[in-house]
Symmetry: C2
Subunit: 373 residues, 2 copies
C-alpha cells in the first residue's frame, strides 16, 4: 500500500502535511520547456532520463513537448512506466540474470524497448529471451568514455561484440551508449567541456571503426544535465539523455558556467516542505525531515528562506536548524529545503505535491518509486 | 502500488531478484531473543523502536517475546502498525500541527498511545484534540539529556510544563523521554558509558524535582542499541527503546566493547543482496545496488564475501567493486552487502526477503515504509 498523499488539490500550501515532496510548477515547466528548446535548436533527439522523476505524469509531458521517448535504469522501472502508457523506453543499463533478461524481452512485446550490453554472454541470453518471446530487442553497446563504471573500452576492440549482436536474429544493433557520468558534477565549465571533448573523441573513433566494418550506429547517446551543451555541440552524439534538469538540486547548484558564476540555466523546482517541530532552545530548532525524506550523500539540504536559518545536521527523522540571533522561527513554521541530490530523494516518496503559487494544483504518484530491480 | 516482491517462499537464495533486502533469520532470531533476555535479566520493560524495521510481522514477534509494546517516530508509522494489530505504541517524538495532533488523538481510540511534548502550546493542542475525539492521551515530557535535538532542558524548569500537562483532563502525564541519541555511536565503551551516566544523572534529578512537586514519573524511557546496558543499569531508567539490535549495520559494527574489541553482542542479520552486472574491466566490477537501495550517509556498505572484493563508490543504481588480483568475480554473482545504516536502508524497500540457510522462508512487507508524516 502506498502512503496516503500529504495533500489534496485545492489546498493551500500551509495545509500540506509534512515532510512533503514539492514541485513548484512554474519553475518545473520552464525547465521542461527550456531543455526541449535547447535540444530543438541543436537538432538533437531528446530522450530524458526518467530515473530522476520515476513519474508517468512527467514522462508523458516530456514526450508531449517533443522527447522521442524516455530512458530508464531498471527493468522494473521500465515496466511501471510502460504500464502507465509510455511507449518508447531505453534502459541505459545492463540487465543481468534470467529474471531481468526475460522481463525485458517480454516487455518488448508491448513497447519499443532498447537495452545496453557490455558482455558477450549477456548478448546471447538477450537473444535467446527475445526469441522465446518472439520479439526484436534493440541493443546498444555501452562504451566506457571516462566514467569508469559499466561499458567496454572504446575503439577497435568493440567490433567482435557488435558482430555478435548483429548475428543474433532477435536483436537489432542500434548504436552506442556513451554517457560520461563522472563529468556531470565537475564544478568548472572547462573541466566539464574537456571531459566531454575526450568522450566525444573516443565515441567518434568507435563509430568510425564500426562504420569501416559495415556496422552503422543509428543512435549515439549520452549527455546529462551538467554536460548536455557539449554532447549536443560535439558533432558526434545525436541523442541526449539529461534527467535532473526538471528539478535540479543543491549539488547541481554548485556547478559554474563559462563566466565562472553559478550555472542557473535551470531552476530549483523540487523542494522538501518541512515543519518546525521543536524549538525548545534559542538558536536551535528541529524540522521533521531527515534521512528518510532526503538523500544526504551529496551534502546537506539548503534552506530557501528565511535567511539566517541553516540545516546543519540530520538524523533519521529530524533535521537540526541553526537559527541566527535576529531570525525568528516558530513551532509549526513550514520551510522549503532544496535537497542535496534529487534522484534518490524522489525515490523516498510516494507522491509529488505540485503547487502553483501557494495552491496545490496536482498530486502525482511517483509511479516507479522503489522500482530498483 | 508496492513493487512486486523480489522472491517467493521456497525459492533458493540464488533465484532471488536483486537488489533485495535480506534478513538472515537465524542471526535475526538470536538478536531478538538476546536483547529480550538482557532486558528480562535487568528487570527492564522493553519497548523496541519500530523505526528500524517498520514491519508489523517483526513488531508482533518482539511483543510475543516479552516487549510491552513498540516505539514509533511518526504518527503515520504508528497508524500503519496499529492497523496491522499492534496495540501499544509510544511515539517518541513531537507531533506538531493540527493534522498530526488530531490523527494521534483519533488513533488513541483504537490503541494505547503515548506521545512526547516539549512545548506548552502543543500540550494545549493535544488536550483539545483528545477532548474532540473523547480519548485519554498519554504524554511524556521529552528532556534534552545531551543529544541536543528535541526536548526541554532537564531540571527544575520542567515543573511548569508538567503541571500544564497534568491540568488537562484529556491528557495523562506518564513520565520522561530521556534518549541520549548522540551517545549510540561513540566508538569507545567508556565514552558511551560516561555520556549515559551524565544523561541518567540529569534524568534522575528531574524525576526527583517532579516527585517533590507531587508528579510521579511512571515511565522513564530511553536507551538504544549502543548504550542500553548503561541505561538498564543506571537505577534511573525503567523502559528501554533499542531498535537497531534486530539488524545491526556497518556503522554499529565500529563500536568497541569494554575490552577495546569490536562489540559483537548482536550480529549482522540484514543484508542487501546484489548482483554483479558489469565486469568489463579487470580489477573493477559493478553491482546493481546503489543510492536507491542503501543509505550512504553513515559510510559505504561492507562486502561480506569473497575477501578481496570492496565496495568503493556508488551512484544512484550502481556500486563500484574493487577486485583484488587473485579474486575471481563473474557476471551474475550474488553478493551480500552490510549497509552502512540500517534504518534508512530499510525505508527504501517494500519487502524483507527472509532466508534460513539458502532457502527463502518468508517475505514480509515493510508495513510502514515511507510513512514519514
Amino acid at each position: 500500500m502506498p502512503n496516503p498523499p500529504p495533500a489534496a488539490v485545492g489546498m493551500s500550501i500551509d495545509q500540506v502535511d509534512t515532510p512533503a515532496l514539492l514541485i513548484e510548477l512554474d519553475a518545473f515547466e520552464r525547465n521542461m520547456k527550456g531543455m526541449q528548446d535547447r535540444m530543438d535548436r541543436a537538432k538533437m533527439r531528446f530522450r530524458p532520463h526518467a530515473k530522476t522523476h520515476k513519474c508517468a505524469a512527467i514522462a508523458h509531458q516530456q514526450i508531449a513537448l517533443g522527447a522521442v521517448g524516455i530512458c530508464c535504469q531498471k527493468v522494473s522501472e521500465a515496466e511501471a512506466l510502460a504500464w502507465a502508457g509510455v511507449r518508447d523506453i531505453m534502459i541505459t543499463n545492463q540487465l543481468i540474470g534470467p529474471l531481468k533478461v526475460e522481463r525485458a524481452a517480454a516487455l518488448a512485446r508491448y513497447i519499443e524497448l532498447s537495452v545496453c550490453v557490455d558482455d558477450a554472454q549477456n548478448v546471447r541470453q538477450l537473444a535467446s529471451a527475445a526469441k522465446k518471446f518472439d520479439v526484436q530487442l534493440n541493443v546498444m553497446l555501452e562504451i566506457n568514455v571516462g566514467a569508469d563504471r559499466c561499458g567496454v573500452a572504446p575503439g577497435a576492440g568493440v567490433v567482435d561484440l557488435v558482430r555478435l549482436i548483429d548475428q543474433q536474429e532477435s536483436l537489432n544493433f542500434i548504436g552506442l551508449q556513451a554517457y560520461q557520468g563522472s563529468a556531470q558534477h565537475l564544478r568548472s565549465f572547462s573541466d566539464r567541456k574537456d571531459a566531454v571533448a575526450r568522450a566525444a573523441e573516443l565515441t567518434g573513433n568507435t563509430v568510425e571503426v564500426l562504420k569501416n566494418h559495415g556496422y552503422a550506429c543509428r543512435v549515439i547517446a549520452g549527455g546529462g544535465t551538467g554536460t548536455h551543451p557539449f554532447e549536443a555541440g560535439s558533432g558526434v552524439y545525436n541523442e541526449i539523455q539529461s534527467g535532473s534538469y526538471v528539478f535540479m538540486d543543491a549539488d547541481y547548484g554548485k556547478n559554474r558556467n563559462r563566466a565562472g558564476e553559478y550555472e542557473r540555466a535551470f531552476e530549483n523546482s523540487l523542494f522538501i516542505l518541512a515543519s518546525v517541530m521543536s524549538h525548545a532552545s534559542p538558536g536551535r530548532a528541529v524540522v521533521d525531515a531527515g534521512l528518510k525524506s532526503m538523500s544526504f550523500e551529496s551534502g546537506l539540504p539548503v534552506v530557501v528562506a528565511p535567511a539566517g536559518v541553516s540545516y546543519i545536521a540530520s538524523s533519521d527523522e529530524h533535521g537540526i536548524l541553526e537559527i541566527s540571533r535576529d531570525t525568528e522561527v516558530r513551532l509549526g513554521d513550514k520551510l522549503r529545503l532544496i535537497p542535496g541530490h534529487c534522484d534518490p530523494t524522489v525515490n523516498l516518496h510516494d507522491w509529488f505535491v505540485c503547487v502553483r503559487g501557494t495552491q496545490v494544483e496536482a498530486v502525482w504518484p511517483v509511479t516507479a518509486r522503489g522500482a530498483v530491480y
